[in-house]
Subunit: 194 residues, 2 copies
C-alpha cells in the first residue's frame, strides 16, 4: 500500500479482520497481510496481539463514550442531563446491536478478553454520571451523600438497558417504557426531601 | 431400575445427564438410558425433548423463587422485606455460580433455549417485588404511582447482581457494597415525600 502506515490505519484494518475471522483466529500477520505490509511494520506500532486488541477495543469504547461526554457536560438541569445520558448510552449500544449485529458480536468477544480496558471504560462512564449528580447536588437540585457512589449506582442500575450481556433482551417492545420507569425511580431517589 | 418411574425421578436424572453432556447433546434416549428404562417410558411423562427441558428449567427456577416467596410474604417493614428479597435473589444466584459453576453454566445454556419458561419466571419475580411495594404503599411506608411498575423496576435495576448474564462480574469484591448503594437509591425513590 502506498499511504504511510498510521496507527489509525492499522486499527481500521484490524477491525475489519476481527470482524471477518473473529478474535480467536485473528493474528497480527492477518492484519499486516490485509494492509499489504510486513508484520514487523504493525509490531512497530503495537508490540503484541494483545496490545493491538486492546487498542481496537479502546477506540470502539471511546466512540461510545464521546457523545456521552457531550451530554454530561451539556446545559439543562441535572435531571434532564442524567436522563439524556442514560438514554444516549442505551440507545447507542442497542443501535449497534440492532443495525450491525456482526460488529456487535465481534466486539462482545473482544471486550470479554480486554478486561482492563473495559474496567477503565466502565469507571469512566460511572465518573460521567457522577459528575452530573455532583452538578445537581451543587445546585441544590439533587441530593446524594456521595455523588461518586450515586453515579456508579445509576450506571449499574441501568445495566439491563445498555450492558452488552443483555443484548438478547433488547428486542422486547416494553423495554423503552421499563427503562423510563427505572429512571423515574432513580431520579425520585436522587431528589432532595424538603 | 426397581422403583416406579416418577416425574421427579426423570427430572433428577435429566439434570445429571444435562450436566454431563450439555443441553445441545442431551437426548431423551440418554435420559432413559441413565434411568435404565425405555425412551417410551420417559415420553409418557414428557411428550418431547423440549417439554423435558422446559420442566427441568421450571423446577430449577422454582427452587430459586421458593425462598423468595417466603421473604416477600414475611413480616417486617416493606423496606426491610424488599432489601432482603433482592439480597436473597442475588445471594442465591451468586452462590450457585460460585459453588457449582458447572451446574450454573449448564442452566445458563438451558434457560437460553427455554424462553417462555424464563419469561414466566421473570414475571413471577417482578410480581413478588410488586407485592412488597404494594404492601408498603398500603401501609403508607412507601409511595409508588403503580406498584406493579415499581416492582418490575426494582427487579430490573438490580439485574447486575442477580441476572446470570453478569456472572463473570460477580467476583468483584466491591459488588456487595455497590448493590447496597443501588438498593439505597431505589428505596429513597420509593419513600413518600412528606
Amino acid at each position: 500500500m502506498a499511504e504511510p502506515l498510521t496507527r489509525e490505519g492499522i486499527l481500521d484494518s484490524a477491525e475489519q479482520v476481527l470482524r471477518r475471522y473473529g478474535p480467536a483466529k485473528t493474528t497480527v500477520v492477518d492484519v499486516a497481510r490485509a494492509l499489504e505490509v510486513s508484520h514487523g511494520s504493525v509490531y512497530r506500532h503495537f508490540p503484541s496481539k494483545a496490545a493491538l486488541r486492546d487498542a481496537v477495543t479502546q477506540r470502539w469504547l471511546d466512540r461510545i463514550s464521546a457523545p456521552l461526554a457531550e451530554v454530561a457536560a451539556g446545559s439543562g438541569s441535572a435531571e434532564e442531563r442524567l436522563r439524556a445520558w442514560v438514554r444516549t448510552l442505551a440507545g447507542t449500544k442497542q443501535g449497534i446491536a440492532r443495525e450491525d449485529p456482526e460488529l456487535f458480536a465481534t466486539f462482545r468477544r473482544v471486550t470479554d478478553e480486554a478486561g482492563e480496558v473495559v474496567a477503565a471504560h466502565v469507571g469512566h462512564l460511572a465518573g460521567q454520571a457522577g459528575r452530573i449528580v455532583a452538578d445537581g447536588v451543587a445546585s441544590g437540585e439533587l441530593a446524594a451523600v456521595d455523588p461518586v457512589v450515586a453515579g456508579r449506582a445509576v450506571l449499574q442500575a441501568t445495566a439491563l438497558f445498555h450492558h452488552p450481556a443483555h443484548a438478547d433482551e433488547w428486542g422486547d417492545p416494553l423495554l423503552a417504557d421499563q427503562m423510563e420507569a427505572v429512571l423515574d425511580l432513580l431520579l425520585d431517589g436522587l431528589r432532595p426531601r424538603r
